[in-house]
Each structure stands twice: as structure tokens, then as C-alpha cells.
């Protein structure tokens, strides 16, 4: 859906390049059908793969009976007992409904639902500050829908805050209404079927209301541990997060029971990370290897209208770990070439590289805000994994014309106080 929104922007740009095209309307139903078909084909693909590898697939809802036995209940209600030498829990998480807000459950939807809507969500209020909230609000805006984001405190809390701020700044300039420091009190249904949301501005304590067609909750995720009867197995969880406590081997408090992915405590909530951890665990269980999962320097990208790719430490984390004196931050604003002809605003196109100050200046983190951030960040993640230093970066020739070359061209440090804005060639 992010791609659908980006294409809308590109159709607009196209006229500047000579294409005689008027901005066409968007058909939500057609896009949703394409997305839904793709998801279903993925589910099919997974089932085929399991079959191929001769994995027995039980379509059951499972829970523990004791540390070695699991009870599986079929759709028809039949119970089957299964025991195994090793048990791996990978039940993931689900979006959280803020049940303390009146009407939240009855009238709101979550990210689970947005891709399955047959009709356009219309004027939408997205509550939350996570990447899910911002990505959804971003593509809804891009598709031409009236979109508001309500953020209680800070956007993208776990990310570099300077970058998070630029991300939301871009969204605000490009048509998303962002309400900072506000939290909803209740959601009610009006006689015409629309939703009325009442919220409070936490600083001024002033209340306000708004009318929307859809309210989307993106206020966090909860691990799927409630129905598992973990106590019967002796598997311990963090009482605050309800996530399963694991060690570096992905083992839980019970030696033969493991947990990977979003359900495990302290792990980045990312699919590729969970997949790799699962693969390495499988290798270890078959005694094929003793390699542990490396959870450091995991790259990721936030697919907001202006994308944010990052790998390694945020500036705050680097300073907290090493001290401001021992950290050097190189940065630059840049203008993607593709923004020039259509006269797009590049004010938030920015790159930041956090390094150790001591030569050879090991790269601790890279932050890239711009088009195709995922593609750009992936390659540099390999560099960081190999222990790239700023000296390596300086000796890496850029590919012209790209946005990625701006990473290799970073020369201005924050410490120098020099202006990092766009310069000539």
C-alpha cells in the first residue's frame, strides 16, 4: 500500500518529465484485492514448503499440559496430545486495543484489519507513534485520504529521535495532520455511522473532538502468550511485557523449550531476525553448528512516505555507551536527483553516520532518510557487520547519480559546526 501511495506521487511527478497525464482517482478495492491475494499466496507457499520438507502440519490451537506435553485443539474441538524432545514457541504478537478507552474495541480497527477492508477507510484517525502508525498514516495520506495521527509523547520511541522528528516533519508538510501530546478519551458512533473521538491535550488539559470514518489503533503489540498455559510448563515471562524470558541460545527457563521472534523478551520485533534466529536454532538442535544469533547491528527501514533506513546505534545510544567525547557524528542534507525536475521538497533528506572518534573511527550506526532507504541501508549493513570504519567509508567511491553515494561522501561532522546542507557537486 506504501508502494501504491508512492506511485500516486510518481504519477504527479511524471507530468514534469513530459508525460501528458492527469492525476487519476484511486480505487481502494482494487488495491486491497491485490494485497489480499498476495498474502493468501504467501500462506499457500508456506504450506507447500512445509509439505515439501515433510514437516507434519497440525492446524491446532496449542497449549501446554506439562513441560513435555502440548495439547492441540482442532477447529472442530477435538483434542490431540503431542510430546516432543524440543519445543519452540514462535507465536508472535498481536496489535493491542486500548481497552481502557471507551468504544475502542467496538469502533476501532488495528493494522490487522486495514489490509482486509473492502472499502476505503475514508477520513482516518491513526492513534499511535510507532512505525506501524506512521507507515499507515503515511500511505493513507498518499492515497488521498484525510488522515490524522495522534501521538501521546514521542514518535518512533525506539529509534534515533532526530531522525524520528524529521520523518514526522516530512509527513506534516505533506498533508498528514499530526496531533502531538494528545491522547483519546472515548470513541462514540454518531447517527450517520461516523465516529466521534474525544481527546485531551495533555499539556493544556483541553478537550477536543473530531469526526472520522475510521479509527486505527497502533498503540503497541502484545505477545501471544495468554492462551499457552506457560505456567504448566514452567516457562517464565516478564510480568510487565508478558514476553517469554530467553537466553542467548533462545532457551526459556525450561531447557528444552525455546522461544523466538516477537514472543521473546528483548528481541527486535522484526521478521527477518526471527527467521534467522529460528534457522540457527534448528542448526544447533541438530548439532550441526553452535552459532548463536547476533542481535546487534540488525538493519531495518521505516516505510513512511519519506523512508528511514537505519543500522546500528542511534546517536543517543552511542553517546550513552561511549560518552559524547568519544563519538563523532558525520551528517549531511542532500537532494535526490529525482526530486529536482518535479521540484519536490528535499528538506528532510538527511544522512547521519555515528562513529567512534578514535581512528580508524569504527562506524557504530548509520541513519538514512530518503527514497529507497531500505535498498540503500541493506548494503551498508553488510559493511557494518564487517567492521567498517569511517576511513573505509572515505575510500569507498560513490555511484553517481544515486542517493546512496551521499553516504560515502559524508565529510562534515556535527562537532565542526559547519553547515551540513546541500552544496554543489
Amino acid at each position: 500500500m506504501h508502494q501504491a501511495a508512492l506511485l500516486g506521487g510518481m504519477i504527479h511527478d511524471a507530468s514534469h518529465y513530459g508525460w501528458k497525464v492527469a492525476q487519476p482517482p484511486h480505487d481502494w478495492g482494487k488495491m486491497a484485492e491485490a494485497v489480499q491475494n498476495h498474502v493468501k499466496s504467501l500462506n499457500w507457499g508456506h504450506r507447500v514448503q512445509l509439505q515439501d520438507r515433510k514437516v507434519k502440519y497440525f492446524n491446532f490451537k496449542a497449549s501446554f499440559v506439562n513441560p513435555h506435553m502440548v495439547c492441540g485443539v482442532s477447529k472442530g474441538g477435538e483434542e490431540t496430545l503431542l510430546s516432543a524432545d524440543h519445543i519452540v514457541i514462535a507465536t508472535g504478537g498481536r496489535p493491542r486495543y486500548p481497552t481502557h478507552i471507551e468504544g475502542a474495541l467496538e469502533y476501532g480497527i488495528t493494522s490487522d484489519d486495514i489490509f482486509w477492508l473492502k472499502e476505503s477507510p475514508g477520513k482516518t484517525l491513526v492513534v499511535g507513534a510507532s512505525y506501524v502508525a506512521l507507515e499507515c498514516a503515511g500511505f493513507l495520506t498518499g492515497l488521498g485520504l484525510d488522515t490524522t495521527v495522534m501521538i501521546r509523547s514521542v514518535p518512533l520511541r525506539a529509534f534515533d529521535q532526530q531522525m524520528a522528528s524529521l520523518v514526522t516533519e516530512h509527513m506534516a508538510v505533506h498533508g498528514t495532520r499530526i496531533l502531538r501530546g494528545c491522547t483519546p478519551l472515548r470513541v462514540e458512533r454518531l447517527s450517520d455511522g461516523r465516529l466521534q473521538v474525544t481527546w485531551v491535550d495533555l499539556a493544556s488539559d483541553k478537550k477536543d473532538t473530531g469526526t472520522f470514518d475510521t479509527v486505527l489503533w497502533a498503540v503497541g503489540r502484545v505477545p501471544e502468550t495468554r492462551g499457552l498455559n506457560l505456567e504448566k510448563a514452567g516457562v517464565r515471562t516478564n510480568p510487565n511485557t508478558q514476553k517469554i524470558l530467553v537466553d542467548a541460545q533462545e532457551a526459556t527457563s525450561v531447557p528444552h523449550i525455546y522461544a523466538i521472534g516477537d514472543v521473546a523478551e528483548g528481541r527486535p520485533e522484526l521478521t527477518p531476525t526471527a527467521i534467522m534466529a529460528g534457522r540457527l536454532l534448528a542448526q544447533r538442535l541438530c548439532s550441526r553448528s553452535s552459532d548463536l544469533m547476533d542481535y546487534d547491528n540488525v538493519p531495518t527501514t521505516v516505510f513512511t512516505p519519506l523512508e528511514y533506513g537505519c543500522v546500528g546505534l542511534s546517536e543517543e545510544e552511542a553517546v550513552a555507551r561511549h560518552g559524547e567525547e568519544r563519538v563523532e557524528v558525520y551528517h549531511a542534507y542532500y537532494k535526490p536527483l529525482e526530486f529536482v525536475v518535479p521540484e519536490r521538497d528535499a528538506s528532510q533528506c538527511y544522512i547521519k553516520m555515528v562513529c567512534l572518534r578514535e581512528p580508524p573511527q569504527l562506524v557504530l550506526g548509520l541513519h538514512f532518510l530518503g527514497p529507497n532507504a531500505g535498498e540503500v541501508t541493506q548494503g551498508f549493513a553488510l559493511g557494518i557487520k564487517c567492521g567498517a570504519s569511517y576511513q573505509h567509508v572515505m575510500r569507498t567511491v560513490g555511484i553517481h547519480p544515486t542517493c546512496a553515494e551521499e553516504v560515502a561522501k559524508l565529510r562534515i561532522s556535527k562537532r565542526s559546526g559547519l553547515d551540513p546542507t546541500v552544496t554543489g557537486c
Binding site: 489480499q36 493468501k40 499457500w44 507447500v48 515439501d52
Partner: protein, 127 residues
Amino acid sequence: MVQNIRDMDELKALLKSAENKLVVIEFSAKWCGPCKRMYPLFHEMSVQYRNVMFASVDVDNARELAQIYHIKAIPTFQMFKQAQKVTLFSRMKRTICCYRSGSLSEPIFELCGTDAKKLEEKIRELM
């Protein structure tokens, strides 16, 4: 006419009722774009070739059937015939043991994809 098959019993009944006729079964799904493109062509063939039986299986509704016939990609077309000789070449990777009166439940030919021309050629050859 294309008959919808939902499980193994219905498939066996269809094959039995076909007697000596060629049976062509399409494995498809509602979310599959190529399947949607093939369907009208498949339907046309069912109208044109009256001495051939045409059926379709929705792999989501008939999961067990899709599993038994090892359907990996869709659309997949499998052809069955109550033949005395089962040496007709097959691209199958495994055999279903059902050795009564000529391996009723084993396909004699399989085609994956949307090559309607190839499908029709094969039907004409085997019918």
C-alpha cells in the same frame, strides 16, 4: 461444464463415472491471478470437447486433495484416464498406490501454468 470437486470421495466418483473418457482437473485458488486468466479458456474447452470431463478443485477448500496430489504451484492441470497401460509418460514425482483396475486415482499427465495452447493440444492427444 466444469464440475467442482471438494474431496477425494467426489474425485473418485467422478473418475469412476468417466469410464473411458479423459478427465481433466484444474487445481486453482481464488487469490491466484493466472488461475483467473485460465478459467474462461478452461471453461471454453469444456464446452468444446464434449467427450472429455472437466473439473476444478479449489486448493483452499480442498486442502487434503491438493496435498495428496502434491500441488505446488497453481494453476496445475492433471489428466486422468482409466487406461490399461499406465506407461503414458508422467511428470509426477511419486505414485499413489491404488492398483485396482488400472490405477484410477493416478494422473497420467500434469501441466503447471497458463499455456492454454499446450493444454488443449494434450487434451486432443489423450482424449
